[in-house]
């Protein structure tokens, strides 16, 4: 055992699939202390050839396996097995039984996302969802991209493109009327971002970052839609 400094972060990762293995590699490269847990013995042997003592063999849903890995002193537990039930329970136990402050769970089937929330396992990351968001990022007609949802805090950050001739185009930030609970935090123009002042003028083609209470998107997007578009016509 090597001596570790008090401020070093200890991370336990359950599941040595592609995601778990690569995560472990990256974190070890960043000098984090990592234990990876894998329940398939053949997979374990393959991964152990590279990661050696940083990987342990066992079923991470079993309490003794987590305890053997030192869950009591873990700062972060990441559950990325191929089973959503396992990921939910590993994180639930880490948080509620062992008081681990930070957890991250992988959602394999997006239809199970609600189960993670119901059982208090947050944040839950779904690769399918992330890819969908990237697709939306590539499809400008969508207009709105959700960059970050802070579930616990009931806030989200979105990115909107200012349409040609839209309600907000060529207006000062102070003149833009937005619903209560929303705020413009940044403007991206020609690849550069800045924090706008009250007298900064929003131009067509700008990307506007906003922070808002979830549910306000539908009342905000029409103001950014190009004139004559379906959204503004239907308003």
């Amino acid at each position: 055992m090597t001596e570790r400094s008090a401020d070093q972060m200890y991370v336990i990762i359950a599941g040595a699939g592609k995601v778990g293995w690569n995560l472990a590699r990256e974190l070890i490269a960043k000098d984090r202390e990592v234990t990876l847990i894998e329940s398939d013995h053949r997979r374990f042997r393959v991964v152990a050839e590279e990661l050696e003592h940083c990987v342990q063999y066992g079923d991470a849903t079993e309490l003794w396996v987590l305890e053997r890995a030192g869950i009591q002193r873990a700062d972060l537990v990441i559950a990325v097995t191929g089973d959503d039930e396992d990921n939910i329970l590993i994180c639930q136990v880490a948080k509620e039984k062992y008081g681990c402050g930070r957890i991250v769970a992988r959602v394999n089937n997006p239809r199970n996302l609600a189960h993670f929330k119901t059982l208090g396992v947050q944040p839950a990351v779904s690769a399918t969802d992330l890819i969908l968001r990237l697709i939306e990022h590539e499809v400008p007609e969508y207009g709105l991209i959700q960059l970050l949802a802070l579930e616990e805090e009931h806030l989200e950050i979105i990115e909107l493109e200012v349409g040609e001739g839209s309600e907000v185009a060529d207006r000062r930030v102070s003149e833009v009327i937005l619903p209560e609970g929303s705020l413009i935090i940044s403007i991206l123009r020609e690849g550069h971002g800045f924090v706008p002042r009250a007298d900064s003028v929003i131009r067509a083609g700008d990307q506007v970052l906003m922070i808002l209470d979830p549910g306000l998107e539908s009342s905000i997007t029409p103001r950014f839609a190009p004139s004559g578009s379906e959204i503004s016509a239907g308003r």
């Binding site: 849903t61 309490l63 039930e85 329970l89 136990v93 189960h115 059982l119």
Partner: protein, 140 residues
């Protein structure tokens, strides 16, 4: 009472048949259509003719649980072959669907004990086997 049982294995199907005999309304959900045979075995009439319900569906799929009647269940028994599945669906029954009585089979004694402390009614067959074996083996 309306009793929903998820998992028609040896335990689930036996409890289902007894509950139906006792005059309760019983609905069974299992991912494997063949599991239905356990409900018909050694019975005079088929499960459905006797008044039972059977739904084919994965335990974690909400649509299947709703079709099987979870929203009006008085009792929920999680008895699939997987501890992890049982613990997740039992907590969903409790927290999301507010089923008044939730019972869950957990083979792992350590987690059965911890989840019992968290307010789930757990049944641990392994613990029963350990206790019984200890009693018999150590008998004088």
């Amino acid at each position: 009472m309306f009793i929903l049982i998820v998992g028609a294995g040896r335990v689930g199907s036996a409890v289902a048949k007894r509950a139906l005999d006792a005059g309760h309304e019983v609905s069974v959900l299992d991912a494997d259509p063949l599991s239905h045979e356990r409900l018909d075995k050694d019975q005079m009439v088929s499960w459905e003719d006797a008044g039972g319900r059977f739904t084919v569906g994965a335990a974690l799929e909400v649509d299947g649980l709703i079709e099987a009647g979870i929203e009006r269940a008085d009792v929920f028994l999680a008895a699939t072959s997987g501890d992890n599945t049982n613990l997740v669906i039992a907590q969903l029954a409790q927290r999301r669907f507010k089923v008044p009585r939730v019972v869950v089979r957990v083979a792992d004694p350590a987690r059965a004990a911890w989840y019992a402390e968290q307010g789930l009614h757990t049944i641990c067959p392994t613990q029963h086997a350990i206790d019984e074996a200890e009693r018999v083996v150590l008998a004088r």
